[in-house]
């Protein structure tokens, strides 16, 4: 297990280095102009000399390799630089935004995981009945639904027509930060979280269903049937454990899709999370923030995959005992 973790960490380190080099290289060739991002709308009033002075100050006139080394050495010391649009350290911005997104993502993740697993298990056990067909139809429809479109639909129906939920933002407008309650935050969280969950269901449900169908056609289930097991008992004894491992793995490995979905959902709901910060950083050329977010999302996705790997090892005796033997 320790050897496994060391190997994983080593792999992560190399991944991170490659990611830093690649994204820095991409950004340095992009048309984004950091000076314009810094100055903003006053660009026309800045003379050429002033531009050069700013470039000199930020070190932008140096060759890319030197800039990369400068940025990289700061990064190793934990300094991700200063966000140009927020005028605050990147680490602070990401930390704050990430907490908001984490609440959203974990709610969506839990809800879609549980609901998807239950739906998939029912459909698998009732294979080829109308229940199964209905579930498949629902999942295929969802799988081909864009996040932003569903988000807009949710806003139109539940926020505008019915007025049950706020149209957007993470907290009520016009209220002092100290006066915002947890209930307020949750209230604003429900609609975006629901949007993400409904979409996340399809993936895990279809995987669970297919895996369960395979299990039910296996030799050991045939033998269990021959011993008189059927229905829920059969599922409980032989289906649940065998289908739970791939389902959990998929759910943890879906962190990347979760982040992707969050970017879109936050944009639709103007939810002040990491996703919205990403879009802003991109549109307004905030390169330090953009690079910081890239690294943090990589870390997040890597942790998801690592947890999936570890759980697989803990739950499946074939891997657990096979290693110690």
């Amino acid at each position: 297990m320790i050897a496994f973790l060391c190997k994983k960490l080593l792999r992560f380190a190399t991944l991170l280095i490659a990611l830093c080099v690649l994204s820095f290289w991409l950004v340095s060739y992009s048309p984004l102009d950091p000076i314009q991002a810094y100055v903003g709308a006053d660009m026309t009033r800045v003379s050429l000399e002033q531009r050069e002075a700013i470039a000199e100050y930020w070190g932008l006139n140096k060759p890319p390799v030197e800039r990369f080394l400068h940025w990289g050495s700061a990064l190793v010391q934990g300094d991700m630089g200063t966000s140009m649009i927020f005028r605050r350290p990147v680490a602070d911005v990401i930390g704050e935004r990430f907490m908001a997104s984490l609440a959203l993502m974990s709610m969506a993740w839990l809800f879609s995981g549980i609901l998807g697993f239950v739906l998939g298990a029912i459909a698998g056990m009732k294979q080829d009945t109308w229940v199964d067909r209905l579930m498949k139809w629902y999942c295929f429809t969802l799988a081909s639904t864009p996040t932003f479109w569903l988000g807009m639909l949710m806003v139109i129906v539940f926020a505008v027509w019915l007025g049950w939920f706020p149209v957007g933002l993470g907290v009520p407008a016009g209220v002092l930060a100290e006066q915002v309650t947890l209930a307020d935050r949750l209230y604003h969280l429900i609609l975006p979280a629901l949007t993400l969950s409904i979409l996340g269901v399809a993936n895990v449900a279809l995987h669970t269903r297919q895996k369960l169908v395979d299990i039910l056609a296996s030799d050991y289930v045939l033998f269990a049937r021959a011993r008189g097991e059927k229905g829920f008992l059969l599922f409980w004894r032989h289906g649940l454990r065998n289908v739970a491992i791939p389902a959990i793995t998929i759910q943890f490995a879906s962190f990347s899709e979760l982040i992707g979905g969050t970017v879109l959902a936050e944009q639709v709901f103007s939810y002040p999370g990491l996703g919205q910060a990403t879009v802003q950083a991109g549109l307004r050329s905030d390169l330090p923030l953009l690079l910081g977010i890239v690294i943090c999302s990589a870390l997040f996705v890597f942790i998801g995959n690592l947890v999936a790997d570890i759980i697989y090892r803990l739950v499946d005796p074939r891997i657990r005992k096979g290693e110690s033997a």
């Binding site: 045939l222 033998f223 269990a224 021959a226 004894r237 005796p317 074939r318």
Partner: protein, 314 residues
């Protein structure tokens, strides 16, 4: 122990036909009859071996008796247990309680469940834990084995665990499906001893196998399976000498093809289910075939203490 006339057989299969619905091309359905007019019976305390070459649909016989055929299969004929015809409902009641299956390999055990626990799920009367321990003790499986997962079992342990599932269930009819493929002689002998043991306790045992030598060692009667049907059911004593006592030409050829009996090869091969010849299914390969053989499929008839599906048999 040959045919016990007068006693009710534990299991009696009469004219069993099993067929599958298949899609040959996009929307064309065809029915493929895999087992046709199969008849066999088993008495308590008796081992009947159903012998046939691989891929002849023998396992389907076991699945039909247990009522676990796949969804696209249909069957006709009468299967009676203890003198009573089996309905799907009664099959579901008897499965695992009265009729037990011994599968061929460790793949039939749940990979994520400890074997002790799995054997305990087969127990229907008494304390599962102590019953399982008792049977494991009998087969020299130590308490450590209870906690093992199927992939950790050695070949020998796996066979004993699989036999244990049948023994703990208290079933009176045991169907063993290909229990000996790929085993060495000592392991085959060991496995067969378990079945003799079950039969001596009063169980009826149906041994489905392609290994005629193994079958001859322990079975009381041999049912020979050819192209989806039984061509002969003979007491084991008839398999002797040059095979003079055997009734069907296929059985004789099978007997003489064994290494110790001349190693005489049989020309031709078994027809596939969708290209069965008219009349007797063995007729194209039979030396005794006459024109009558290709007109009508012979019925099963009794000849000297056995049954045969051949019009020339005496």
């Amino acid at each position: 122990m040959t045919t016990q006339s007068g006693e009710t057989p534990l299991l009696e299969v009469q004219d069993l036909c099993v067929s599958f619905v298949q899609y040959t091309s996009c929307l064309r359905q065809s029915t493929l009859q895999v087992i046709n007019n199969l008849s066999v019976s088993i008495y308590p305390g008796e081992i009947v071996a159903v012998v046939g070459s691989s891929g002849s649909g023998k396992s389907l016989l076991a699945h039909a008796v247990l009522g676990i055929l796949p969804g696209n299969a249909s069957f006709s004929g009468v299967i009676s247990y203890d003198g009573q015809a089996l309905s799907p409902k009664r099959q579901a009641e008897l499965r695992g309680r009265e009729i037990a299956l011994i599968p061929q390999s460790v793949n039939y055990l749940d990979p994520l469940m400890r074997v002790g626990k799995q054997v305990q799920t087969s127990v229907h009367a008494g304390n599962p834990r102590s019953r399982q321990r008792e049977v494991f003790e009998r087969y020299q499986l130590s308490p450590d084995v209870d906690k093992l997962f199927p992939f950790q079992l050695s070949g020998g342990m796996a066979r004993r665990v699989l036999v244990s599932t049948a023994l703990v269930s208290g079933a009176r009819l045991v169907i063993a499906d290909e229990p000996t493929p790929g085993l060495d002689d000592a392991a085959v002998a060991e496995t067969l001893d378990y079945f003799r043991d079950l039969a001596d306790q009063g169980c009826g045992v149906m041994l489905i196998t392609h290994d005629i030598e193994a079958a001859l060692k322990i079975a009381d009667r041999i049912a020979v399976f050819y192209a989806g049907s039984t061509v002969e059911i003979a007491p084991v004593q008839d398999f002797a000498g040059e095979g003079e006592a055997l009734r069907h030409p296929y059985t004789k050829a099978l007997w003489r093809a064994l290494p110790q009996n001349g190693f005489e090869p049989m020309p031709g091969s078994q027809p596939l289910p969708h290209e069965l010849p008219a009349g007797c299914v063995f007729q194209p390969r039979c030396r005794q075939a006459t024109s009558e053989c290709s007109t009508e499929r012979p019925a099963m008839r009794t000849v000297r203490e056995g049954m045969v599906r051949c019009i020339h048999a005496t």
